[in-house]
Symmetry: D3
Subunit: 320 residues, 6 copies
């Protein structure tokens, strides 16, 4: 059965579906009866809900936050929609279709991952190719790489966004590397493949896009460099060490790919390859961010709302 | 006859060649004889020179600065080389091979310009194509466009550099536009073609790379927008007006292509096309700047000297 | 009949007047009846309104936003005032007294414009005076110059504000130029007259103070320089060209009059005249902004609320 | 007898005059003879000097730095001028014409001070006028006020510069206050009179423009506020206390007159009067700085050398 | 009787207690009856209140803001608590227990002040000790010093916070001075004792933590230096002048103790002692701010809410 | 035999000693004879040297740079000292007393290291103590830790400086931790011990203080975190894993200990422990930097020369 999205609920409908419950509070009415106020949400929005005739047991049973199945009815209260709940029960996260709750890339992740592997296979330097292969062979890591978002907001902030962003950066690199023969393509390709790999450990997305403790304490840039050291250590333990010069040049690309101290890079780009990865990453992120903002603008104005991170509104009119 | 480059002069050689004279000063020796101290230079460097038994007439005749033919001899003085001049005469700038005095692109400017014209011909929007055509039809302007540098230092700072930079940016755009179908390619191509066109009026390069008065007072960004208005006015006067929406979108790309207020853009990018031109321009300029610094490093160290504009030294070791 | 200002409406009054309607929404009550929620506004504020027994036809007929005549009654709802509308009809903007909807200078615009013309007539340089005259002779442009605001907020943000600000800056220049004989007064006077002329094309004010598309894409600084080029081209076409040195010095003043890159000037002041225009403009704008904030403070505290752009609250106590 | 300025010395002249000696060093020749190397300077420049056949006694007697009378001869050494000294003796600073060593305003300080007193006399508020009078009555302080520079470099960096700058700011205030009737003129006039008064204690100028220890540790802004407190305490001790509201408003003007934290103001302007003093001070300082740089440019180029503090070169061509 | 804290009020309780009333407004119901809407607050929060059947006399009698005794009843209105007031009367501030309305240090102020005096007594330099003694002997000043907060928010923002912060900084100095024997301990101890002394005049805390007019116009840094000058003048008047070198070094510490222009220091630290006071002050303030934010976090998350001044959330998990 | 320091050489002395040769150049005289110009240096300075009658073989044999033994004589040439070399031979770096060429801590490194070990032994948390122990047990690493400088300039820029700085920070932590009981001392002590450990790999100091390739590409902050991961992996491999929570909190301290993005920290402090390590590190570094600048000032002025990194000159006068 199809999920009833919150953005589509109208007054007076019967509701029986799964939502995320957040901030449940147990209160008592003036007459002393207990009730629970809470919010219900999915990826289209959030709505107020009340369960009258509630008990402390029901309240304690509720996840804070988590998935619940509710039965009830929508109604207008002071000109706002709310849900009056009759029954509520906890739902196991494993049985939920995550797509109802988190946005997802509209591209084919399987195909994109195949193309990523092909791009990485073009790395000619055997040590660098072996190192990239060590990442590709880590099934658990690759699953996160294909599933996670590239950010909680800003750009590619949807499931599969990390893969989509990396895939498209590799396509850009493939297109322009022939125009810059003095730039070492192997380092650029490996650098792009790994530049945001630390995000697999920085972010969570079981119910919403958020950060892990480790992600907040260390950040994906440092986490990426630590992953490189781990994979290189595995290779070395199997008798296939990677030259320090290669490891350092690659780690430098990851460290400097934000291009500025203010954006969390502890080192500024100091090689042509680091500059190229920085520009390709930034270009792809910004074009995605700008295009999505223009596409998703709610009003039909020729200008989007103010984009704080870009310090401007965006112009939506096309010349054609 | 081949020019004797200053970097190749050794002690004890007879010299008879053309150089740029700068900062000539008339002085008298302790015994009261007049002599002229001056510098001679070409594109490989600068050297101290003295003309003993000089007169006030000779001094007045000298350009300050300008081209002169000198006859004389090199010698070591206090362990530095200097030239002792016997004869000096002014040379008409038109008879000088400018290549001896200014660096020049190592690419074929005729071929690059042909490719630029082909890239611009791909603009589908007829008004935008007509506007670009108006620039291409301005022979005097195109001559400057093909001949001038893209900067006095930093990146593409050599004759033909403006063309080379524009040509390569158009190649990059051609390579990546297919990957961003939502971005309006016509505006990107026309925007790249014109983004630095104002530099034809901002810079001079008769003896050295320098700025015009107008260039210093207005800057190439404003000069580029003024050129667009002029060419659009010409078209309008011939009954082929360009829509205001197109002119504004194109002018916005030129105005915002430095991407930051601090770098002289009076407006921040507010369209996907403006962002793309900004990133392509910056990428091509920086890779050129970094590659040249790495290539031209005088020492054989693995690191270049400190690059002030990049706030780092650059690493020269390759992984291959 | 006098307009009934929103700030003066009290509960229980019958209302029959013209207001701006914004954000009308068609909704249905719990019982299924359609009604329209909307805001009504004039220059004194904004108020909630409801039209019960509405139809989809009425909703479609409403401008979004625009002027409407309404008949209805004010009432308290949950301790807030709202208007219950019985009849609503669209009003032609031409029949509306704009003063009820937009603030206006309390000075005489006719007299101020006369004084501006007199100040400009003092320019001794014939070419510069001819160029200024070309602007004064453009009736349509001068009408906008006399009517528009100098900003949407901050300083002189009322009808006639652009004229008032320019007029007062000319008065300041007239007062202090004798104290700085080395500064070229002609350039300062012409520069002040034209420094914000681009705002005639940057801003709109048919119902509220806002920006044109062109204004957001190019900004009034560039628009001002383009106007100078247009007027100079007209003069040249009539056989009265303006020297490039004059045009460049004047355009430089317009370009640099914000004094800092961060405030949208693509060039920093490089002449004494550019510095003087920058300081006079900034002084007049800030004193107006500070005085208005002190005068309009709603509370009777000795301090205004926090002024974000000035990074301080302002002290209102006088020593007298 | 007229001073022989260093800029006017030519080779082969006999010299007998007073100069400042700096950095004297006692050295021995290869043959073991003692000699003293030193610099001689006046306000037109600095020159190398040698005294052969020197002794340790002579060296010890020399001030480091200080005024000396020397007898000797100019000669060319390696194409640079130097002085060969035969006799050297210490000169009492009191017997030296300071004008030979420090630049001085070309305006009449007596007349400027009279005009300052007249401007201050226009303060209507009796307490504020009494406070200003307390400063005017302090002869020692006023002597420093009339004699000192306004800065060691940048603007008005010559004897009498502090007075000239204050005088001209008062003239500007007098000219524009009528245009801003809402601004309290008394506070502006008193504020301008005192805004740089702390410089009387911040700077020294016995041989060169420099800073006192106190000046470097506290700065003229704090020193000015301390002076206000001292003078107010004197008045209070004589039974004429100044209202706290007046003292605070005046001290605030002094504290905030640099307009920005980065320029050493611990508070940002928070009154219309503080803004006006800030702008008048900055305007007068910058126009002086710009005019002097344009006037004193050594070359005959249309552009001055790079002005670091202004982040630009300055354009010298006039339109007339 | 114990105060009934607002955070502890539940629906349906009778209330008879003292609160601060703020923003009282006289309104009329739809039927024309007058009522007063207002807020009641104490240090635990703020609550909405209504007094029906009010009169204009009652409204006029109310302080805006001030202490009132109210009698009434709590009730739920639209799911929020509010108080319905039956009787209201003004209460003299002197009869109020300020602790119910302002947070207070949990440390013993008497004991802390004793320890401050002991620390100051360790100053060996007799002039510096005399100067500190002059402050300690000023009973009125010391009462404010012991009673006031160190800030309105951020760190030590509670009664006694100024003392607690100064006391703890003195303890840190006492602990680390032996490790830096080259640093002059006397200046550090006196500097810490006085670094925030100006806050006694910058802040008010009769009902809430706020700023005086003088505090906002001058700031505690300047006020502190003015206090030092006053106390030194008192000593001098009694024949015990303090050396200028000592006064300047001490005043410099106060002026520079924020360490950066942006934080309101008009001078940067220029002595080892100034650096030490700056670091100790900042360390103690930040550790207090961080600890309080971690301790007071309302949720049970491992992370606090976003700390704007620190540009991060804070991690609350402990390793033990 | 004692080294003849360059700062002590006088004209006319015979020299036979070891120096570092830098920038040797083979030149020919006007008569065609070959000679070698070069610089000789030790930790007290650098001097010009010439070897006449040189050969290409000698030139090729010279290290560039490296240690050489020279025999020759000092003489005055154009009033500067230079060395005329008769014999020159390469010296093995192992046979050189490094102290003659690099500055060294004046403290006892053995004793400091013992105290560091004792401080670390106070860590109560067994996992954290084990992790610190893993570092202490790495003899090669500890040798570098005890031998290297803490910086190439700025603070503790001498052999043993890294140890001295870490040792003193641990002493400060030991002294003040009792005053902040809510701060987790174990993390602070371990954090200080390891905060600059990456400098063992970032810097070289065989002849002068410099950076490794890895140091420039990754920086000591990232290198420190990588070392922590390596040591934790070693422990885990021996069955003694360290909790992720502990590793992340410790790595966060290292990452954030520069306190600002601009100073190369990719994360801002987010725990009380990170703030404490940041402040202690900065305090100790700055006091060392300031004290050394005051102590080493060459002139006998009351002020040091301008300290670029501190944006001030430093005041040297003491109050005692």
């Amino acid at each position: 059965m199809e999920h009833k999205f919150i953005s589509g609920i109208e007054p007076g409908q019967a509701i029986s579906d799964i939502y995320i419950v957040t901030q449940p509070i147990l209160r008592s009415t003036v007459r002393g009866d207990l009730y629970i106020a809470m919010f219900l949400s999915d990826r289209t929005g959030q709505i107020n809900a009340r369960m009258w005739q509630a008990s402390e047991d029901i309240y304690k049973m509720l996840p804070k936050p988590g998935f619940v199945h509710i039965e009830g009815r929508s109604e207008l209260y002071q000109n706002s929609l709310q849900i009056i709940i009759n029954n509520i029960s906890v739902v196991d996260a494993g049985k939920v279709s995550l797509d109802d709750f988190l946005a997802r890339t509209d591209k084919d992740t399987g195909q994109m991952f195949e193309e990523v592997k092909k791009a990485v296979a073009k790395v000619a330097n055997p040590q660098l190719r072996a190192l990239a292969g060590e990442f590709l062979a880590d099934g658990e890591l690759m699953e996160k790489f294909c599933k996670g978002p590239a950010a909680t907001s800003m750009h590619h902030s949807y499931l599969g966004g990390l893969l989509e962003h990396t895939w498209n950066c590799l396509r850009v690199a493939g297109a322009i590397l022939p125009l810059y023969p003095e730039v070492q393509g192997d380092l650029v390709l490996a650098g792009i493949f790994l530049h945001d790999m630390g995000k697999t450990q920085e972010m969570t997305y079981d119910m919403a896009f958020s950060y892990t403790d480790q992600g907040q304490l260390l950040g994906h840039i440092t986490l990426g460099v630590l992953l490189v050291q781990q994979k290189a250590a595995s290779l070395a333990a199997r008798g296939k060490p990677v030259d320090k010069v290669i490891l350092d040049a690659l780690s430098h690309i990851i460290l400097s790919h934000h291009g500025q101290y203010d954006f969390g890079s502890p080192k500024l780009p100091a090689t042509a390859e680091a500059f190229m990865v920085y520009y390709i990453d930034d270009l792809d992120a910004k074009i995605n961010q700008v295009s999505k903002a223009i596409e998703n603008e709610a009003s039909d104005s020729d200008w989007t709302s103010w984009q704080k991170a870009l310090e401007t509104r965006l112009y939506r009119k096309r010349i054609e």
